[in-house]
């Protein structure tokens, strides 16, 4: 297979597009690197070199001494595993010669993120946090309090995310609301240990995915990317805690530490 300079430019654009989609939807760095390289190599490049940083990817394709380099900014579009699955599927189909370059480009362009019904997610997150309250040995009244506190917080979180608010502001406000609602349960002594509801109702705001990605990036050698993700997750945790402390100061109910 021989590549014209135009074809090499086109190949680089397709590969960087795949990498950008993966980066924006929360794939770990190793996966971004591997899939971008595999797509580039399957399209005929001799090698693909790329550098992944926390907000951009730079990729260079090499073919018979010619280099084409391109950069894409990657704005966070929220974690979406379905997009990651679709890009991987396109990559595997390309490697098995079921697709050619133009079809790959077409498919990558037309990928749309699938989202679950938001009220179903609210319901499930409510029950999730209630299950956490069960793990902390809460009884049924605590279970109910946690359900209402965490599902209201999830509604606020979705609303603010829909309006593109800063994630730190979003998480503080949601934590504030969840803690305030749960502290009503403490004020009216609803259940045996109502403080458990305060601890369990904010667990929907734990940045679990960024934290796991951070450690696995660092383990697999992408130290700077891991540190960036770790700092982001830590800042989210701090803003959640600020929301909790603000609510506890206002209502005078303390459910943590004391």
């Amino acid at each position: 297979m021989s590549l014209s300079p135009q074809a090499q430019t086109e190949l680089t654009r397709i590969a960087v597009n795949a990498g950008q989609i993966l980066h924006q939807h929360g794939a770990e760095s190793r996966l971004i690197e591997q899939i971008t390289q595999r797509i580039g190599l399957a399209l005929g490049a001799h090698s693909i070199e790329l550098s992944v940083s926390s907000d951009a990817i730079v990729i260079t394709s090499l073919y018979e001494g010619h280099c084409v380099t391109t950069t894409r900014r990657c704005y966070d579009k929220g974690i979406n595993m379905q997009m990651v699955c679709d890009v991987l599927r396109i990559c595997v189909m390309l490697e098995k010669k079921l697709l050619d370059a133009s079809q790959v480009k077409e498919r990558l362009m037309h990928l749309t993120p699938y989202k679950y019904n938001r009220w179903l997610v609210v319901l499930m997150i409510g029950f999730s946090c209630s299950s956490f309250s069960h793990f902390f040995e809460g009884d049924w009244p605590v279970y109910i309090t946690t359900f209402f506190a965490s599902s209201s917080a999830m509604i606020v979180r979705q609303e603010l995310a829909l309006r593109h608010h800063n994630p730190f502001v979003n998480f503080s406000v949601s934590a504030f609301l969840a803690t305030s609602i749960a502290s009503i349960g403490v004020l009216f002594e609803f259940g045996d240990k109502p403080q458990i509801a305060m601890a369990a109702s904010v667990l929907l705001l734990v940045p679990g995915f960024p934290l796991i990605n951070a450690v696995s990036d660092m383990v697999k050698g992408h130290i700077s990317m891991g540190i960036a993700r770790w700092v982001f997750a830590t800042l989210l945790t701090v803003s959640v805690s600020i929301g909790i402390v603000a609510s506890m100061t206002l209502t005078g109910v303390s459910g943590w530490i004391y």
Partner: protein
């Protein structure tokens, strides 16, 4: 017998957060059941190990490495990247409460002033968070570190 009932209930309660968070991460519909099974399996395994007197960090490491290998099998079977199953499955084991207690302790340390008791809370919870989280992610990464070593899994 009593232990068995406890474990089954623990697993049942762990499926709910695994499913709920899998939906937040937009895991494809037909893969949700694997996340639920993985979540139940991991959390009840950790519960059992902790019941035998194993420390929470080591129990987490063992449970998450089981999920890592289980995810390896599923991902090769369905041509789906591994984090899709594994991360949602370990969500019930994430040390969220420890993390928040650490930072709330830090905030209190600033407002109330330094005290050994508060510092003890901060350090103990912080270390728990770090070690559990490290064990969790390391366990998940184990198959690609030990077996695949840089080669793509699917």
């Amino acid at each position: 017998m009593e232990l068995l009932t406890l474990i089954i209930f623990d697993g049942l309660f762990a499926t709910v957060p695994a499913l709920g968070f899998a939906m937040v991460f937009n895991v494809p519909k037909n893969m949700l059941v694997y996340c639920a099974v993985g979540g139940a399996f991991a959390h009840s395994l950790r519960f059992l190990l902790m019941d035998f007197g194993i420390q929470i960090e080591w129990a987490t490491l063992i449970a998450s490495s089981f999920i890592g290998f289980l995810g390896l099998y599923w991902s090769r079977k369905h041509l789906i990247p591994r984090p899709v199953f594994t991360v949602a499955s370990v969500i019930p084991m994430i040390p969220g409460s420890f993390a928040f207690t650490t930072v709330i302790g830090l905030v209190e340390l600033n407002t109330v002033g330094y005290s050994i008791e508060m510092m003890q809370i901060v350090i103990e919870n912080g270390l728990k968070t770090l070690f559990i989280l490290g064990a969790l992610s390391f366990g998940l990464a184990l198959p690609s570190i030990l077996i695949y070593r840089g080669k793509p899994i699917v």
